[in-house]
Amino acid sequence: MSELELPVGQKEEELTPVDPLTVSRRWLLLKVGALFNAVVGVAVAVPVFKYLLSPAKPDDAYKSWVSLGSVDTFPVGETRLAKFTNPVGLEWDGATDRVACWVRRISQQEFQVFAINCAHLGCPVRWFPQSQLFMCPCHGGAYYADGSRASGPPERGLFTYDIKIVGGKLQINAGQMPTLSNTARLVQIENAGGGSPCAG
């Protein structure tokens, strides 16, 4: 042993075998220690998970009625881009809490408000009044003026917001990015062929 150079800090007696009885007591202590750690770990993990999962809320928790301005700003028979600030936001959101949507005024009292996000993968659709089509720049989805699917990869028509008119102002029920998981309920989509209902 004396020839072997021991690392600094290591004593020779530590290498000698120890009483097995002591070992079993130490093992028990280690097991208790591990159990103690597990209990503390679970106790700490619960709040950590709750913290991590805090953004996951039911859809209605994020939604509220937002005004798009006076109904007079939307001429009858036209589709216009409207912008609003998302009701839920942080101070450092910058411009990202701004949301755009397409407002179609069918008649004096009839409106349709479409999400800007393509029903395929969420890219911003553009309105072409000349051909009365919405076109998506990403994968080529196209929609008719009433938001129903015209062609391309989308499986359904444009997402619509619930609307109401309060005191001459157009309001929509908004608050979260429209996706298939939160807007894909059964909706009436008028097909070009002629008004057959379809599951959106």
């Binding site: 859809d59 910058g94 990202t96 009365q132 076109m135 008719y144």
Partner: protein, 491 residues
């Protein structure tokens, strides 16, 4: 010199690292493996180091806030001395890293290096690839321009397709209901802490296993891997026909890594940094979002899949793909390593490479997307198409241009490629067929019945009828012609 040696001894008696490092450096590798084919792994590791260093340097300035990130990147680009170069190094380093990791993986697959006893090395490698791609995606998000914003939108839309927990998945990914401040903060945490930490740890274990298990020997046809005998055979080989790793093989790694770093620097200096593109204001919708180079293939796949197959593909294909990669060393853990004896492996690799290349190429010019400004921004219908035309046909050319037909259909080589080019359309469709196609659409074309007045339709179709070569008549309905050539009854 003696002082240096004493200093070394002082440190080593405390660190205890000298002996294991010496053992690692001098472990024998097969002579034939000291080859230029075996340099990609070390190059990937060196690129990881480059990304960590340049990443830290960028983090000195970058502001991970949705309101300020884009501005801070512009400050880096334009105001800080050589900030643009550091951004370019990090961006090009990322491209090179993905490329080198993919080449490394293809080489390992081709050389059968995933077989016994290196199964776990391969599996860790699969995770390293996934994490590298994760870094590339999250890095693109941190650029926080329009492409990043709408790329997140695509990510959220994909997440929303998960059954039952789609809504929760979207909220967890975005950190809230919309793409905003919370989203950037969590992607920053992933890009800067979570994934790099795992990447570094996994890469170190990966290298450790390569050093401990020994580098794969050069595959020879007929030299078959068997679990019972492989390890002994490998040690005999390295003893008989081997050389110490340092300097026998490592000098090639050193040369190649230096060349890769130089290539990154040259690309960065010559081609500059990536973006940032337009500012991340979601109300600016005049944008055509596109992913970075290594995700273009996915972008193409998503536009060519039939709608009904999309959700299954998005949710099932990644799982199957990753499971297949992980299962590979267990399925083919023994047997031939040489590509001369593995035709299926060669076919698979070639198929994947060609498919990837074609899809990526298509992704660079997106023939499936309407060209949003073709009707207004591009040249009008060329004069030669309307020179001898009647007023009605010329009116049709105006309808063609103003109703955005050109966004999807090219004419004279200008316009979208979503639909077929129309230069010869009159030879393919008769007048009646043209009217039907325009009014009712079909075959991926929207119906224009509601959006064109009868005179507009007539004019448009009359113009389309002129689109045939001089020497080839327009298609005509045979029955229609039969009626016409019937002799006129005499009065």
């Amino acid at each position: 010199m003696r002082r240096l040696k004493a200093l070394y001894a002082w440190f080593d008696s405390r660190l205890q690292l000298g002996a294991p490092i010496k053992e690692m450096a001098l472990h024998p590798v097969p002579n034939k493996t000291a080859s230029w084919w075996y340099v990609f792994g070390s190059a990937a590791f060196v690129l990881l180091m480059l990304q960590i260093v340049t990443g830290i340097l960028l983090a000195l300035v970058y502001v991970p806030s949705a309101g300020q990130a884009w501005n801070s990147l512009n400050v880096l680009n334009h105001q800080l001395t050589l900030g643009w170069f550091l951004r370019a190094m990090h961006g090009w380093g990322s491209n090179f890293m993905v490329a080198v990791v993919l080449i490394h993986m293809a080489q390992v697959f081709l050389f059968g290096a995933y077989k016994f006893p290196r199964e776990l090395t391969w599996i860790l490698g699969v995770f390293l690839l996934l994490m590298t791609l994760g870094m590339a995606f999250t890095g693109q998000v941190l650029r926080f321009d329009q492409d990043a914003y709408w790329g997140l939108g695509i990510g959220a839309s994909i997440a929303s397709r998960v059954p039952f927990i789609g809504s929760t998945a979207v909220h967890m990914m975005l950190g809230g209901p919309i793409i905003a401040g919370a989203t950037l903060s969590r992607f920053f945490a992933f890009h800067v802490f979570v994934i790099p930490g795992m990447l570094l740890a996994f890469a170190c274990i990966h290298v450790w296993m390569v050093l401990k298990l020994g580098i794969n020997e050069w595959p020879m046809p007929g030299r078959v891997v068997r679990r019972a005998t492989y390890v002994a055979e490998y040690h005999t080989l390295t003893k008989k026909d081997g050389r110490p790793f340092v300097p026998g093989a490592v000098w090639k790694d050193a040369f190649f890594s230096a060349a890769i770093l130089a290539a990154v620097a040259v690309c960065a200096a010559v081609l500059g940094p990536y973006g940032p593109g337009g500012q991340p204001d979601p109300t600016i919708i005049q944008t055509a979002p596109k992913p970075d180079f290594f995700f273009l293939w996915l972008y193409s796949v998503l536009s060519y899949l039939p709608p009904s197959l999309e959700t299954p593909f998005l949710l099932v294909a990644p799982v199957v793909g990753i499971a297949g990669l992980i299962a590979l060393p267990f399925y083919a853990g023994e047997g031939e390593k040489s590509w001369h004896k593995r035709p299926v492996a060669i076919l698979m690799l070639t198929t994947i490479a060609v498919a990837w290349g074609v899809l990526t190429h298509l992704g660079t010019f997106t023939p499936w997307s309407p060209l949003m400004s073709a009707w207004s921004g591009g040249p009008p219908v060329p004069i030669r198409y309307t020179r001898d035309a009647s007023p009605l046909q010329r009116q049709g050319a105006i309808v063609f241009q103003s109703k955005q037909c050109r966004n999807c259909h090219s004419i004279a080589g200008v316009g979208g490629q979503r639909g077929p080019a129309l230069d010869l359309i009159a030879t393919r469709l008769t007048e009646d067929q043209l009217i039907r196609q325009v009014l009712q659409g079909g075959g991926n074309m929207p119906a224009y019945g509601k959006n064109l007045s009868p005179p507009e339709t007539t004019a448009l179709v009359q113009f389309l009828e002129t689109l045939h070569p001089m020497n080839q008549p327009a298609a005509a309905d045979a029955s229609h012609q039969a009626v016409l050539i019937e002799p006129v009854p005499k009065p």
